[in-house]
Every structure is written in C-alpha cells, then in structure tokens.
Point group: C2
Chain length 381, copies 2
C-alpha cells in the first residue's frame, strides 16, 4: 500500500470525559489514523468505525503502536480494510479524507482499561467504566472538533461499527451527510444478547480475571479464548467450518494446554482462540460487547418510539446506505430489515442492498467488490 500514506496520530484531551452511564475519566487519548487530504473547507471527511475487535488501522502498514506492546501482533500490521481504502477505491483517498479511531475502552492506543489512571498511577483495570455507543460518539466528536471538522461527508460502519454510526447519526444528525451501515442492526436481538452474555461469563469465570485487575498477575487467556470461539462461529458461515478446519491443520503443540483436542474442529477453534488472546485485551473485549449487548438508540436519544431518533436523520436530510449479507449469522438480515423499516417510518429513504455470499458476516472484510460500487455511488451523490 505504498500509494496510501498512513498517519498514526494520537490526540490527548486534558478535559475530563464524563460517561453517559456514570463515571468520569480525568483525560482521554484518542489513537487514530488518517488517509488522504482534508480539503480547504474541511468538507471531505469520512469517519470509519471499526468492528468489535478491530482497530483504527484500516489501511497501509503500521508495524508498531507506541505503548501497545505485544498486542500489536504481526497479523495487525496490515490494515483491515485495505482493499476499500486508496486511490480509486470505495473510500477514495484522492477525493476524501478518511479517519478511523480506536474506540474508547480500546486496547490499541486509545484510553482503555490497560491505560494508567492518572489519579492512581496504575492501570484502570476493573475500575474502567462501562462505555456506550453514545460515549463513542462523544469521544470521536472531540477528535473531529480538534481537527476543525464540522460536518462529515459520511460515516461508514461495518458490524458493531454500524451501531456506532447509527448513534452518531441520531445524536449529532447535523454533523453527517451520508451514513453507510454494513451488516449491522438497529437493536441488539435476544439471541445476540444471550451469545454476548455467554462471552462475558466465559471471561469473568477465568481464574485469572480477578474482577478485571489482572495486569500484574497473568491474563484471563482461557476465558477470552473461549469468548472468541463463541463469537467466531457467528462470523464465519457454518458451511465454511468444515472446509477451513480441514485446510488449516493446526500443530498439536500450538494448542492451549488445558484440553486434549479430539478432532479437527476443536483444534481449529482452539487455534482461533489462541491467536486472538495474543492480540486483544479481555477488559476491552468486555467493554465493547457490553456496548453491543445494551445498544439501544431509542434509549440513547431519550425517545419513546423506535422511529423517533431517526426522525432527526430525516430532518437533517441524511442519505443512508444499508448493506445486508444473505449468509450473515452474526447480524442477521432481519436486523438490517428492521433498521430500514424504522428509517422509512421516520421519513428517511434508505438504499438497502443485500449481497449474496457464502462467507457469512466476514464477507465485509473479504469481498470488497460486493460493496465498492454502491459505496462509491452514494459518496458521489
């Protein structure tokens, strides 16, 4: 990706950050990257929101993030959406200034549970507050303010990023002109809340978890690995497991120690879990799945109906593009249909596109050509 210059930046804000569900951080740091150039009237910015376990590093090569240490594993060094960002691509760096920030509570440079609490000089750990999508909006709005960006040309959010994009659109309706929501939803389903709760308990049950205060004494790797396995089955289309498990032969010594693997599926899943714990922090994982589990735009906007918060989007004349993936087991197509229904009720006329794929939820990472034409089209309107 030599043709896209990546800037890794941090913005530190010394003003206290008050969280919507209670708690306050005395200061916050926002880790982010940008691609392309901000134009003179600062009107060409696109804000990209990453997925649950993603990072701000969406494009280019970044071999190190200061302070992140071993979590910045080699598999992270290339951007997660390289095929969609660059000259002539879906997010065209010749025309737009693209920004992606690590979430508040994250583990890749933004203030999170592993950061030192300036009040104690020790990591926040379990004392790091609960964060909501609305908090992420407040957090990233500070970044936009610091860059002098008033209204965004667009926001783009795949997966959990789509939930944050939705909050941004309803809470700051005049600060975004176009919203692109990919394989995301409107309100977290009962099934997903159950699956997310299992993951919370998997981590909390780990003997090393210690209420989140584990940075000095070994990490809850088994719990986080199990959580990842639980979620992983929703990311990949079920038909692909058999193929993948046969193809990706995992050497026995690479396994986590506690379980005697009995078949290829188990070894494949354990390898997924093991790979993940090297690159992610359990406390961050808990914060983001909690955000997802309790996501509720109606509540955030203090509204009494589902369409109400979206009426602000209509009033601001936002354009919406909603993608569904027909084989998605994580955010089911019914969830995007619900979002589209509420948008229509509110008076927004969204474009709703279903891509057909055998890759499941992960399609948004793997098949750029399915998304590029419509993204280019709406950005050019």
């Amino acid at each position: 990706m030599a043709d896209v210059s990546t800037q890794f930046l941090t913005f530190r804000d010394d003003a206290p950050f008050r969280l919507r569900s209670g708690g306050e951080l005395p200061e916050v740091t926002i880790a982010y990257e940008t691609w392309g150039e901000l134009n003179e009237d600062r009107s060409n910015a696109i804000l990209l929101f990453h997925a649950l376990s993603g990072s701000h590093h969406a494009c280019g090569r970044n071999p190190e993030i200061p302070g992140v240490g071993d979590l910045w594993q080699p598999e992270m060094h290339n951007g997660w959406w390289e095929d969609l960002i660059g000259p002539g691509k879906a997010l065209d760096t010749d025309r737009y200034f693209i920004i992606c920030a690590n979430y508040l509570g994250g583990c890749y440079g933004s203030t999170g549970p592993a950061s030192d609490d300036p009040r104690t000089g020790k990591p926040y750990g379990g004392s790091f507050p609960q964060v909501t999508a609305a908090d992420q909006v407040d957090f990233q709005a500070r970044l936009l303010d610091s860059l002098g960006i008033g209204t965004l040309h667009a926001t783009v959010g795949p997966s959990v990023g789509g939930l944050v994009a939705l909050s941004f659109a309803t809470l700051l309706p005049d600060r975004v002109q176009r919203v692109i929501s990919i394989a995301s939803g409107y309100k977290t389903t009962v099934l997903n809340r159950l699956i997310l709760f299992e993951q919370i308990l998997a981590i909390e049950n780990d003997p090393f978890f210690n209420g989140g205060n584990y940075y000095d004494n070994g990490r809850p790797d088994y719990g986080l690995a199990l959580a990842r396995m639980i979620s992983h089955k929703t990311f990949v289309h079920i038909d692909a497991f058999e193929r993948r498990a046969r193809r990706d032969v995992i050497p026995e010594k690479e396994m986590l120690a506690w379980y005697k693997v009995r078949d290829q599926f188990q070894s494949y899943m354990l390898a997924q879990g093991k790979k993940f714990v090297k690159r992610f922090d359990a406390n961050t994982y808990l914060r983001i799945i909690d955000l997802w589990s309790h996501f509720n735009p109606t509540g955030e906007a203090s509204s009494d109906t589902s369409a109400k918060p979206l009426e602000r989007c209509a009033a601001a004349d936002q354009k919406w593009l909603v993608f569904s993936i027909d084989s998605d087991f994580c955010f089911y197509p019914e969830e995007q249909a619900e979002l589209v229904t509420h948008l229509r009720e509110a008076g927004v006329d969204p474009m709703h596109i279903t891509v057909h794929s055998d890759k499941g939820h992960d399609s948004f990472l793997l098949e750029p050509h399915l998304y590029t034409p419509h993204i280019q089209w709406i950005l050019a309107q």
Copy 2:
C-alpha cells in the same frame, strides 16, 4: 400418578465392562425404573432413552435415589414424561412394560464419574472413560439380558435419546421392532459440535475443575452453569425468552455471585444455570456431550456409507417413526430430514411427522398431545 406403580431398581453386573473407545470398568451398576407389567412371552417391553441431562425417572413420584444425595433435587421427583406414560397414554402401561435406565456415566444411580472405582476406593473423577452411544447400547443390552428380554416391542428416544435409539437399532437390529426418534438426528452437525465444544471448555476452564477430580474440593459450578446457559438457548424458542425473562422475575440474592446482573435476560439465564448445577454433575455432563459431539452411526457400525448401517434396520424389518419440531433450534428439522433420507436409501420406509410448536426443542417435554396419537398408532401396528 398414583395409577402408575414405579419401580426403582438397580442391576449390578460384576463382569468387567469394556468401552468401545478404550478403557474398562471392573463392574457396572445400572439404575432404572419400570412401569407396567412384562407379559409372559416378554414381548411387550419398550425401552425409553432419556435426553442429555435427564434421568431414568420418567414417570411417577420418586423422592430419593440411594447414593445420589443432593443432586436429586425436588424438581426431579416427578417423572419427566408423566403425560406420556400411564394407562391409555402414549406409552400405555396397561399394554406395555416400559423401562428407562440412567446412562452409563450418569449421575443418578448408574455407574458414573462420581462412583467409587473399586480398584482405588475413590471416585473415578477424571479417570472415568469416554462413553459412546454404542457403549450405552452395550450397557442397556446387559439390563435387557438380565430381565430376559430378547426383542423389544419398541425403543423411544427424544433428543440425545434418539441418537442412542439409532445406535441400538443399527447395532442390535434384531432386538427392536419399532423405533421412535423424536427431535433427534443422524449425525451431529458442525454447528452443534461447535456449541458442544464451547460447553466442554466452559467446564474445563473452571478453576475448580481440576481435570475432573473435584469431588473433595468444591465443584466447577460456574463452568457447568455457563455450559447450561449455552445449551439452554438452543432448547427454548428464541421468541420465548423475552416472555419468560419478563415473567420469571429472579430475586437478586438468588444469583451466582460473580457477575453483577444488568438486565432481566442475564438474570433469567443465570438462574437457569444456578438451578442446573444443583442437580447435575459436570463430569457426567462432559461424558454425555462428548457422546453427542462424536456421534457417528456410520463409524460405529464400521460402514462406509451413511445408509449402510440402516440397511440392517431394513433387513430386520424395523418400523420407524421420526418426529420433527418446526421451531427446534437444538436438533434442526434438517437433521431429521437427513435421518429420513438415509432410512429411505437403506430401504426402511419411515413415517415422518412434523409437529408445529412455538416451544422449540422443549416441545417434546411440554406438549404430549402433539406426539401421542402417532406413537399409539405405530405401537399398535
């Protein structure tokens, strides 16, 4: 159920029991109950196989099982299939002699991981061998031999019990005339293997698990509770969760201690987990889900095609009745369709009935009227 006399019995066999995947038990005890009378030519016996976490106590009232202690919770005292067993009911005690035995590896009276190993005088714990459906067939065949029963009038197996019924039918084809498989399958799906693996890890990750040797030092309750929660979501139709969670308000003090419950769903699921750990043993749970996870009738019968083992059923002129539940998220209707396809390929002409229910997999426990007419019909043929 004063009209059905229940006999709780144990049969102890001093001959060593060799397991098909290796290992040997020096002796086995089979806990079972019977209802009705065995006729003179011993031709009216029906063998019922219980589900994953069920017991042999399918009908009547049984307030105590010797040696089982606290696990025999009050919720177990009434039989799990009372509405289907009795005079004039689906399994008519005026006509048939019904037998149900606790599985090998069980925790309700049959030899299992909590039993003392006579070679050491201590509980088997982690040294208890892996058990397969074929082992369960061998185990229960010993019981039939002891009762002098050659050929069964029928076997009936709901859920995991249907897998054991299938093994019985293919391994001992001449010992059963009718097979009733309810909400079960032919070969464990990838999705179920993943969900079962999550449950294995949830238990193995518990700090108290200690490789299965925990009987002296506190049980892996958190792990077993999490495993139950993971499976529970597949038993109940997803639409029912919202209703149930609203209705069944759980007092906060009833919760497991480690997690601060944030909503009604979480509290409902935790209560399910907590209730379960009082009545079940984690080592038994592991043995039975392992049986399910690796269930493979083709392998058991040393066959090279899926239909092959079922050809024995055709040769023995077995009659099959297969029930599907349209809302089943545990054994999906596609799984019974696969079983039926293989039966047809093998030359058995099964009766395949889909019941329509909003109760999901649990329908077989809750809605006897949906099953009774066809069960009565096939038993009378």
